[in-house]
């Protein structure tokens, strides 16, 4: 029996690692290939062969800086609006009686197929005479990111004890003061987490941006066009570039959140 469970465990570990490789290995492989100087689709033969040639060539492209700027704009706006909306949800959720309906409505967009959300929003904007621009993309992206950000924010608010806020009120703090000194410090992890979700989901989103952006292309739209079109190896550099930005942001977030956790541990 004991040997059987050990074997079972080994099998499950192997299965798990294979699955993780299935999810991550292709992207990692692409990242390595983007440093191969020749036009071949291969890993650089030795360390000295690693070259950023394609990355340099990439930034000589005319349309790329515009697309990057567009994407950062959209991402930042999405992050700000999303975190404000989910903060509002967090604040009202505690006192709500019809919690499940509220939550159900807020996470409903998660269950709408991306292309349908994109298509319906684009004709809706057309109906009310709003022309496609990066702002219509922002609306689409907030709708996309809001369920994730709401869940992250609500999780952080669920750790908030009502008594702490009441104590602050009893000591004479007004609503704003209670928020600034008590609620925000205790829930900032969730609020920033929501903002991060907003930025990264927006940066990497394609189908909504494609339907809503009009002529102003985002990084994802630009990249998708390149991938469908050509076999120029700088496409690997472009993909590697986007991958690196996302990984960097995730790493920053990890450091930040472990910092928050440590500081809240020392507080309590």
């Amino acid at each position: 029996m004991k040997a059987g469970t050990a074997l079972m465990k080994l099998c499950l570990w192997t299965f798990l690692i294979l699955t993780i490789l299935f999810i991550f290995l292709p992207s990692f492989y692409l990242l390595v290939i983007s440093f191969e100087p020749s036009k071949l689709e291969r890993i650089p033969r030795n360390f000295s062969e690693f070259s950023i040639k394609w990355y340099i060539r990439l930034f000589q492209r005319e349309r790329l800086p515009g697309a990057i700027k567009q994407s950062i704009m959209v991402g930042l706006l999405t992050a700000v609006i999303t975190s404000f909306l989910s903060l509002f949800s967090g604040l009202s959720y505690r006192k709500l009686r019809v919690k499940s309906y509220f939550l159900g409505l807020l996470i409903f967009p998660m269950f709408v197929p991306g292309i349908i959300a994109a298509l319906s929003l684009s004709v809706f904007f057309k109906l009310i005479n709003i022309r496609s621009s990066i702002y219509t993309v922002v609306f689409g992206h907030v709708l996309y990111a809001l369920p994730y950000a709401t869940i992250v924010t609500l999780v952080s608010f669920s750790g908030l004890k009502e008594g702490v806020i009441e104590a602050a009120r009893d000591l004479g703090a007004n609503g704003f003061r209670a928020f600034k000194d008590i609620i925000f410090p205790l829930t900032r992890g969730g609020i920033f987490g929501g903002a991060l979700f907003g930025f990264l989901l927006s940066l990497n989103e394609f189908i909504r941006a494609y339907f809503l952006s009009g002529w102003q292309e985002t990084l994802s739209i630009y990249m998708f066009g390149q991938m469908k079109g050509g076999a120029d190896p700088s496409i690997y550099a472009l993909a590697g570039f986007i991958l690196s930005i996302s990984i960097l942001l995730v790493l920053i977030a990890v450091v930040y959140f472990s910092f928050i956790r440590h500081s809240s541990h020392s507080m309590s």
Binding site: T19, F22, I23, L121, F124, I207
Partner: protein, 291 residues
């Protein structure tokens, strides 16, 4: 007295903070869907639609054979959902119930990362694995199993399946982890103490108790597969055509009612799945931890 005033102030304030997110989702997330459902029964004009009720768009769905693509897309999405469940369930169980806590958080974090990476890049990178000069062919040739690269790995339905699975597997894992969390260790131990072998405990106790997570995961994967074009565009090649690409080209050709009719059908399927999930699988229980 003072607290009373404070409280009533608080609740009117909480009503005010409630409004922005609720209005946002209703106006931009729900209303447009209702509009396209209604508009799918309108008549097309040259550039837009006019309010003259007809089911022409749905008839065209049948007579022009669009349903063939629709059925194929549904089949692929269902297959991918099923595969994701088969792979995702043991992983979720393993992460939540077998692995030590320290590893558990690391593993959960690993499965969050894909949400933050570009799915276009992730799908595109699969070309480097499945392609003619890709990793699989290179490895097989190096091992001496084949001498000529296999062509059938990329630009077909098989590759689309792989792409969708790689994109949406994490969506299956998280809801199941959440629902397994709700099954107490004592419940599993009780079943085993009564003499049930693990497999029987799994079938009789654990799986029924984790139905909310299974349903939520399946709906996530299914809906995401139905809503994406990237996997079909980048891995399916020219021979594979999906409903999503059909929607794109119908919108491009300004054939609005036809596009809306297909969207309505997809929405109908999604909403049925959601109703089933909430009614019979009690999916709402998944979010109770937030309350």
């Amino acid at each position: 007295m003072k607290t009373k005033i404070g409280k009533s102030k608080g609740s009117s304030l909480s009503f005010l903070t409630l409004l922005p997110p609720v209005l946002f989702v209703i106006i931009l997330g729900v209303l447009p869907l209702i509009l396209i459902i209604i508009w799918s029964f309108f008549e097309p004009t040259e550039y837009w639609i006019k309010p003259h009720l007809t089911i022409a768009a749905y008839l065209k769905f049948i007579t022009l054979g669009r349903y063939i693509t629709f059925v194929k897309t549904l089949r692929v999405s269902i297959t991918v959902t099923f595969l994701a469940l088969i792979i995702g369930y043991p992983i979720a169980y393993f992460i939540r119930k077998v692995v030590r806590e320290k590893f558990r958080n690391i593993l959960l974090f690993i499965f969050i990362i894909p949400f933050f990476l570009s799915y276009i890049v992730r799908v595109f990178s699969l070309r480097l694995i499945l392609g003619r000069y890709g990793v699989i062919n290179n490895v097989l040739i190096w091992m001496g199993l084949i001498s000529v690269p296999i062509e059938g790995l990329l630009f077909n339905e098989f590759a689309v399946h792989i792409g969708l699975l790689s994109s949406y597997l994490p969506f299956m894992i998280f809801p199941i982890v959440l629902s397994i969390e709700r099954v107490g260790d004592s419940t599993i131990e009780a079943s085993q103490d009564l003499g049930a072998p693990f497999f029987q405990t799994l079938i009789r106790v654990i799986i029924p108790l984790t139905k909310p997570g299974i349903f939520a995961g399946c709906i996530f994967v299914f809906v995401s597969s139905l809503g994406t074009t990237v996997e079909w565009d980048l891995l399916g090649g020219v021979s594979e055509f999906s409903t999503q690409q059909m929607l794109e080209s119908l919108m491009m050709a300004l054939k609005f009612p036809s596009a809306f009719a297909i969207s309505t059908l997809i929405l109908a399927i999604t909403i049925c799945a959601l109703l089933l999930g909430f009614k019979y699988a009690k999916m709402g229980k998944l979010f109770e931890t937030l309350e």
